[in-house]
Symmetry: D2
Subunit: 289 residues, 4 copies
Amino acid sequence: MKNSQQSVGVIGLGIMGSAMSANLVKAGFEVRGYDIVAARRAALRRAGGNPVRSVAQVNAGIVITSLPSAQALHDVSQELKRKCIVVETSTLPIEDKEKARDVLKRKGITLLDCPLSGTGAQARVKDLVVYASGDRKACDQAKEVFPGFSRAHYYVGAFGNGSRMKFVANLMVAIHNVSAAEAFVLGMKAGLRPEQIYEVAGDGAGTSRMFQVRGPQMVRGRYGDATMKVEVWQKDMKVIGEFAARLGVPTPLFNASAAVYNAAMAQGFAKDDTASVCAVLERMAGLRR
Amino acid sequence: MKNSQQSVGVIGLGIMGSAMSANLVKAGFEVRGYDIVAARRAALRRAGGNPVRSVAQVNAGIVITSLPSAQALHDVSQELKRKCIVVETSTLPIEDKEKARDVLKRKGITLLDCPLSGTGAQARVKDLVVYASGDRKACDQAKEVFPGFSRAHYYVGAFGNGSRMKFVANLMVAIHNVSAAEAFVLGMKAGLRPEQIYEVAGDGAGTSRMFQVRGPQMVRGRYGDATMKVEVWQKDMKVIGEFAARLGVPTPLFNASAAVYNAAMAQGFAKDDTASVCAVLERMAGLRR
Amino acid sequence: MKNSQQSVGVIGLGIMGSAMSANLVKAGFEVRGYDIVAARRAALRRAGGNPVRSVAQVNAGIVITSLPSAQALHDVSQELKRKCIVVETSTLPIEDKEKARDVLKRKGITLLDCPLSGTGAQARVKDLVVYASGDRKACDQAKEVFPGFSRAHYYVGAFGNGSRMKFVANLMVAIHNVSAAEAFVLGMKAGLRPEQIYEVAGDGAGTSRMFQVRGPQMVRGRYGDATMKVEVWQKDMKVIGEFAARLGVPTPLFNASAAVYNAAMAQGFAKDDTASVCAVLERMAGLRR
Amino acid sequence: MKNSQQSVGVIGLGIMGSAMSANLVKAGFEVRGYDIVAARRAALRRAGGNPVRSVAQVNAGIVITSLPSAQALHDVSQELKRKCIVVETSTLPIEDKEKARDVLKRKGITLLDCPLSGTGAQARVKDLVVYASGDRKACDQAKEVFPGFSRAHYYVGAFGNGSRMKFVANLMVAIHNVSAAEAFVLGMKAGLRPEQIYEVAGDGAGTSRMFQVRGPQMVRGRYGDATMKVEVWQKDMKVIGEFAARLGVPTPLFNASAAVYNAAMAQGFAKDDTASVCAVLERMAGLRR
């Protein structure tokens, strides 16, 4: 039997949770995982982990949560019983995370707010960054497991700062994805080839991580293989928009990008990658490839 | 006496021209340079080059032009006499470059449209990229001198494509500079430290070359040491805006950024770095550091 | 004792509710009103109405609700017992109104969705327009009381259409208020006097109801006498923004206006009139009057 | 023979110039008109005016110019010889008008900057407003003819203020036309009928002159009968945009609208009315009527 330091719990085995679990297994951890979907629990077993039948059975000193909604977090908070440190990695409103933290605290469980920077594709190759926040001591303990599923982690301070940093980063993601599309459409309409735009503009002052990551889809004009679906991204847009409004921060470029994502939803790209904003702008520009 | 392959002319010895000249000298070229300002000619001599007294005296097979305005280009076009290849590196409307090309063609001089990606600071350390366009054969000849002042060059096709690619790249520069400012202001107002934002958000999906390059100024909140002044940048904004309007390309984010640069001009940042848009957004957000 | 046609209930006696009540009294109705705040009930008595001590005691065939939040509507829905037609005039998410409608239906009470176009100042002079929607027959009955507090009413169809029309109208209100500010700031910076701008531009193709209504505050540069406070307006902005996002409608101008309202909040104008966006843009433009 | 007070010259007999001439004739003036196009001179004769064969032959104390470009104004300035007061009604950059003023001054001719508010359709029914600026005494003389072609006029001060006021008014025209389109598209996508939106939202706080004027085209979804073509309007957009940039005035809503007009150009609406931005937003919103 392995000792408790080598065990780690994972609740929520979707795209992110399953990828993290697989990497934790490879890194030598015993992964005790749970998901409400049986097929996902089975997938965990195939990946070398140990699925359990309920949240309450996830018995480990450190438990990672990767959840689709605030409601899921509140449900998990009710069901957790054993003392542990919970590494909450989902992107959710801070208020919901605070509420969960308070519920768990009464049971002696410490919730840490630790959103991740990176897509599902990046999670599979361990190209994730953890924005860890909350109780410092608990974070120090939790960071033993971070290298098992991420390439870097930063401690960013008080509980909620992880989410705040995530919103800041995602504000730029929202903008840079659309700015890449503007650049491709402007260039293509001016007669430049998209491959050339990707190669040349990607090697200069105008480049961004999003230009590099989403650019290949824009070059091909195919968005079906989504690493971030527009309909999922809309939730992030809403969370960031409300965060900025509540703080009284004007975000003119972010707001301008929101109109383009709405159009992507309207034009049938809900299940496609967010890179499909390029198709939206092409249509606006009357561009036929 | 050196042979003609080893000589290169440079017309316009401002921030960019002088930096390129100095690097060409270091790379072993004999630089024959001209500028209307005597002090700049003297500086060229100190840097190891050979200043001449007029455009007509710039005797070299390949001549680089780095000019502040369309008028300067038209003046130089009138004064050039000897056959050569002119590598025109300035950012100007394509129509003006075409006009100069036609004037020079009648004298047997080939003008190439070769804008540069990179700031004055980057020029000094040879961190420039050349977007070469125009006559292919002439470009092949000219590219012998490119490594003398740049780290990379791309041939992007017919005359004008260099400028088109530059506008595409600069559209993203315009946007990403403001998006970096939005991110810093949102984060700071949420209580995050700017140093932390720079470190953490710079290592993730939201980063951009501009975030990395201009971020340190935004962290300090000091914009006096300009690598690109707002008032100079306004010319680029105008050129790109008209380019997009003429092509019928909607550029919502670029347009949103233009309002912020106008505000920077209005608030006294004309001589400061474009990173000062961060101060503009801070004021809008009622943020006091 | 008066007959039921002459009585009308009013729940919520804030700025809008008290103004409507006063006008209904003047129009000859017996107003039976309730508000959780005792002072407002007393004010109703002074205005000639009959305050009651609870929602359940508001005994009338037609009951108008004018409420500050969705929660207030849900509370009222629980407390109402007697059969009646409820004319719901608040601006709230449609989902909340639908929920209330369903709760009331089980008690034989018909809820109509009837938002108002007009501010508190307009309500006092009966310059309101009712966007009536829901059960047609109930609307026909309710419209007997509309002339008692409004200058016009429109039946716009199925339940919820009243709110939809209100969101459409308010989207333009949001934009035109900021466009008036842009116009004043552009004109003033160009040396025109604000009084002149108001007079001349108000008599031409560029004018709007908002320019006419909010313009005098922008001319004076004083926003303390609010007919619509920025902090209250922010709720409308949120509701409209989510409405558009859910429908997949790109609203680039509305989104651009949202950034300016956020700035107004940040700069201390929360309690001021929304016309204070003029002060926000003046600051951005470095304008000193 | 009529005396000089009753004569008025008109140079430029396009849509605006011919409408003004016809109304001046009806008002009892002898109109001496010139246009480079012979057919337009013939039309003036049919309308009861007296066409002449050159600019120099336009012999009148007050001469109205209605010209398509700055170049046309400069040409006319060269050709005018006799002393007179020129009422310049075109929308052109102020710099060009100043240049013309200076050229004419040397010949004893006083140029007034007097742009008009109103479309060609409005010009036909005399629904124009004159923004008069320049020499006060000359304006007082010129205003004798204003009632012959306009419904109102305002003296707005020093030369150029007429244009400044026009830019301010047109900034709002640009925005309100697009805001009307946003409102129609939001409403239609929510299931409201466009006729209803026009009727109901047009009678409330959200309305604007543009909503009222362009709304009927948006209701029908037909834009072929242009009172202001998109391609012509693009020139106004450029002039206003540069005016704001030079003054350092941030105009976020105007900038957002510019992207939509660019899209209209791109989608083939160049010759259609500017109301066609509604079709652009419908396409973005995936709306099929």
